[in-house]
Each structure stands twice: as structure tokens, then as C-alpha cells.
Symmetry: C2
């Protein structure tokens, strides 16, 4: 049943820093600045302004050394910094798994949301420390920081799943999460900034 005579990886321990987003030993690290998020915020003008105003880091992803290959189970810690652009909370690019596989996000710090979209239905899960968001196979997913401090979560996902970021640019994510007084307002994906329609939901 094994695809190789020699197991590709040796057992090892990873020291896991829940409060400072570290994995030791550490694998690839990724940093997304505002300029990396073109086409994702509804308010393009606000996005352009944010890029011009220092192009801030919106989120980072620190991975363990477990490779993204079949049969392995890699992990990563994502930190989304607090903020909004044109009223839309800072968020990850979002992706779909080309090979549909389940994934979990375990909240570590701060308060966030997990937005899921299967092409027709959108779901929103509130994530805080002590909550696991379950992403079933076939659902695109994006994380959103809806608080005033960094939002951190641990992701665990099969190495064969892959990341298709283009899917979100083509299909959208069903909903957008906007700052509205002291709460989160979920508005239809296509709604221009500041014109939430009657189908908006609040969380």
C-alpha cells in the first residue's frame, strides 16, 4: 500500500509557540503585503491607497518542515494583523484545494472568522482560542481578522491538498466581512462598499 519502500520523513517533535506564532524547527515562511492582495477587497480605491500608504503586511504564514506532498500532514500558523480596507476586514487571499481534502483551523489568539464557499452556499464560523473550524472537502476558505489584535490559528491539512488561489478570483467567496460599529456585518460578495443590501447578515 505504501508508495515508497523508505518512509520519506523521520518522526520528529515540533515546538509549537501558540502565543508568538512559531514552529521550531521551522519550514517555509510567507508574508503577504497589501500589494499582494490585488483584486480581493471590494473597494479597489481604498486598496490602492493602502498600498501607497506603506503597503502594510496583512498576514504571515509560518509552516512546519513537513512537506506538502502526498501522505504527509503539514501544519502552519497564520497571523492576520488587525485592520480594514474600505471597511472590509483584513483577510487571507483564500483558496480552494485542487485535490479536495478536509482541513482544520484551530484558533490560538484573537478573534477571527472562517468564511467558506462551495460555489453556491457560503458559511461563516466564528473562531477564537479553543475553537476548531472544520473545512470539509470541496469548500473554498478564507480567514478574516474581526478583532483589534492579531488573529492567529493553527492549520493542519493533508499534503496533497494543494492551494488554488485563482478559484477565489473567479468564483468569489459568497460573502464579505465588513466592520459595522462594534460588530461584523456579512454582506453579499458583489455588493460595493457601503451599500449593504437587505440580505446582509450580522455576526
Amino acid at each position: 500500500m505504501s508508495t515508497s519502500a523508505t518512509p520519506p520523513l523521520q518522526p520528529f517533535a515540533i515546538r509549537f509557540g501558540a502565543d508568538n506564532a512559531t514552529l521550531e524547527p521551522q519550514g517555509p515562511t510567507l508574508q503577504r503585503r497589501m500589494s499582494d492582495l490585488e483584486g480581493l477587497f471590494a473597494d479597489r480605491r481604498a486598496w490602492e491607497q493602502a498600498v501607497a500608504d506603506g503597503d502594510p503586511v496583512v498576514y504571515t504564514v509560518v509552516s512546519s518542515p513537513v512537506p506538502e506532498t502526498a501522505r504527509e500532514l503539514p501544519q502552519s500558523i497564520t497571523t492576520i494583523f488587525p485592520g480594514d480596507t474600505g471597511g472590509e476586514f483584513w483577510m487571507t487571499k483564500g483558496h480552494q484545494h485542487p485535490d479536495p481534502q478536509g482541513e482544520i483551523y484551530l484558533g490560538l489568539e484573537g478573534h477571527g472568522g472562517l468564511l467558506l464557499f462551495d460555489g453556491e452556499r457560503a458559511e461563516w464560523l466564528d473562531i477564537s482560542p479553543g475553537v476548531i473550524g472544520y473545512i470539509p472537502p470541496g469548500w473554498a476558505h478564507r480567514s478574516v481578522n474581526v478583532g483589534d489584535e492579531p488573529y492567529r490559528f493553527l492549520a493542519v491539512y493533508p499534503g496533497s491538498a494543494g492551494h488554488d488561489y485563482g478559484w477565489v478570483l473567479t468564483h468569489g467567496m459568497g460573502l464579505r466581512a465588513r466592520r459595522s460599529a462594534d460588530r461584523v456585518e456579512l454582506v453579499p460578495f458583489g455588493t460595493p462598499a457601503g451599500t449593504a443590501g437587505p440580505t446582509a447578515r450580522s455576526h
Copy 2:
């Protein structure tokens, strides 16, 4: 690429109680008493005595409702109670995945060990809160409580992996973890109780 037109599970949040071993909503729960662990401790007489002396619960496994099916990513919390039988620390039965897939154990409470065996080599990882033990595909694995309080960990594993408990009864686990003064002594698997040979390692 999807194997079904309708994703088999909806997104949902699982409230995760790291300090009391709860997952809410909760799926199947499993309890292993001493009598369920026949043939696993080196000292059979001590095991028989422990069964006669109240047949204590050695460990429990609480699962989330995510099913153990292909493409899903189930989770569980295992609690091993503190104790030893004939000097051998209380432990799980141990298993091999019939479908070789990686798995992670994240330490939540107490102090434990993760014993891994690929049929030739044995490895031991110390696990405490804040440590992830990585189980590569192809390695049988057993958890051991080496402390004086309950040892708890969160497991995340692909739903297709499966559990082969018979493999351990046939092949052993390479090493045994024995109580030795205030430390853990790892002795060769076949060594009868109390006769640790010169190849013993200490942790």
C-alpha cells in the same frame, strides 16, 4: 477531481476543551480498561493482577463528529491516566495505519511520550503542552503517560488512514517505557520486566 457532487459534510465549529478533554459537538467516545490491553504489557502477571484489582480505566478517546472516511480530517483527544503495571508506564494499545498517512499529536496537558516503530527502527519523542509530535506515514505509534497526572493530546489524522491494532501484537513497538526512579527508561521490547539490558536508553 471531487469524488462526489455534494460535499459529504457541512462546515462546522468544534469547541475544543484542552483542559477537560472535550470536543463539542462530540462524536464517538472510547474507553479502554486494563482488561482491554491483554498482551501489551511485558509483565503478564502484573497485568492480570491489575485486571483483578478493579480493572481500572487506562485511557479514553473522545472524537469529533468528523467521520473516518476518505478526504475528511477527523480529530480526537486522548487522555491516558497516570500509572504503571509491572513498572511499565500506562499506554495506548498502539496501531499502524493500514493506509499509510501522516498524523500529528499535539500535547495539551501532562507529560507523555510518543513511541514510533517502523518495524526496524524505534523512536521516542517527549510530548508536553506546546509540542507537536509528527508521525510520518509507515510508522506504528503508541502514546505513554510518563508523568503523575493525566496526559492529554489532540490527534489529527486523515480519515482514510484506519487503525490496525494487530500489527503491534505481531511486530511489537521496538521499545518499552519503564518507570525508573524519577526518569523514564526505554528498554528493548522483548526484555522481561526488571531486567533492562545494556542497550537501554534513558530519557
